[in-house]
Amino acid sequence: MAEIKIVVPTHKRSEILTTNVFNQILCINQSEKEDYSKFDCEKIFHKENKLSDIRQFIFKKLGSVFQIDDDIVSVERLFVNLDVVLDSKEIYELIQETYYNSKQVNAKLFGFNSSLNPKHYKPQKPFVANGYINACAFGLIEDDNLYFSPKTTACESHWINLLNAYYNRYSFQDTRFAFRQKSNSTFTLDGGQSLKRTVTSEKKDTLFLKMMFGDSIQLKKGRKDSKLHHKYQRKLNIKL
């Protein structure tokens, strides 16, 4: 079975990188080569600035590839109470098996549960063909229609889910497992995307996605238990 490469794009987080998957490859800016020298694993170097460009660089260079954020603290089974956390080799195998399954159904985008809350896991429906795949950990299988737009700053999750839905209609998601990021890290953890994401960039990203995908993008409304980070936050509304 052909294996899929697992790449961790990381930026200015050599001291706090938590992702640990067997055989992972770090993707680092050329200028940070020294900072990451302590990591004894394969590395590839780029000269890009934005994460969308880095993701595109990885996709173009390696073809089919699984990309994981650098702030993953654990990968968890949602269907058990004991032995919830997978070890490094188990994560690797989980990714390879899901890649194999995705190829069998000819899905071009694959991933896992975007929610760690077991209440959101439906045991009778472990595999989903039209769910939202969080770009904190996702696989892409070589496809001419898929790419990361240089026009976006920090909305790769939404972009790639929408683009895939438009061209390929479905994805492959194994909802029995979920990747846990550092608490609240998406918007505020030092380094990574936090260095690029601003309220202005979020506003532009939301507008750009709306121009591209129309009603499939909607402004998010705050709830009592979930306050918005800013008023331009968006959500997907894919009607497939």
Binding site: E3, Q104, A129, K151, K210, F213, G214, D215, L219
Partner: protein, 207 residues
């Protein structure tokens, strides 16, 4: 027509709704406006019209084209692509952002300055403008509207085998092999998945 070469840097884009209208127009009026090509037969004006005709399986037809009396340079090809599209339609911002021309040059060629500023992402969007713009776009005028077609639905079944004999029957019938992960880090087995297409193929063979 199928021998013509599409302009791979075409900055013009049209929505699915516009494509439909164009196809209807071509079916009603045929190719009234003649496409223009460079000497290498690359289409520099009329890419969308030719694409619509090719999609209507009319690629074998002969059509008139405008042919220059000398080869246009790459800069001239881009200039013409802007001039010929300035009166209508939308531009592919991503493609234009890759063109290495400044604001003034694009404006000289007739592009609307507001649009040009958007392309180069240099203007700040005010809240009022954001509200207005966000309401402006929906599935009828966006670039890639995701709308379900008739009966579009994705689902799956799981086949449970209660013993090895049943498992073997399923494996043989559906041509499944016992696969194990090649890396063998753990004792996990790979799943077998069959698409409806594959089942139909086997079904026909069995019949």
């Amino acid at each position: 027509m199928k021998d013509l070469v599409q302009l791979d840097i075409n900055p013009r884009k049209i929505s699915d709704a516009m494509k439909k209208k164009l196809a209807e127009s071509l079916s009603k009026f045929n190719l009234v406006e003649i496409p223009a090509v460079n000497t290498d037969m690359r289409i520099i004006g009329g890419n969308q019209r030719v694409t619509a005709l090719l999609m209507a399986e009319r690629g074998d037809e002969e059509i008139d084209v405008r042919y220059p009396n000398r080869t246009l340079t790459e800069k001239e090809v881009k200039e013409y692509a802007i001039i010929s599209n300035s009166h209508a339609g939308e531009f592919d911002f991503e493609m234009l952002a890759d063109w290495d021309f400044d604001l003034e040059t694009l404006a000289d060629w007739g592009m609307d300055m507001e649009v040009t500023r958007d392309i180069l992402n240099k203007n700040e969007i005010g809240d009022d403008e954001f509200e207005k713009e966000i309401k402006k776009y929906d599935d009828t005028n966006c670039e890639l509207a995701i709308t379900p077609s008739f009966h579009e639905k994705y689902s799956y079944f799981i086949i449970l085998c209660e013993n090895e004999i049943d498992e073997s029957f399923i494996r043989n019938t559906f041509e499944l092999t016992k696969k194990q992960t090649s890396h063998k880090l753990t004792d996990n087995r790979l799943s077998n998945i069959l698409t409806v297409e594959k089942i139909q193929e086997i079904w026909l063979k069995l019949k």
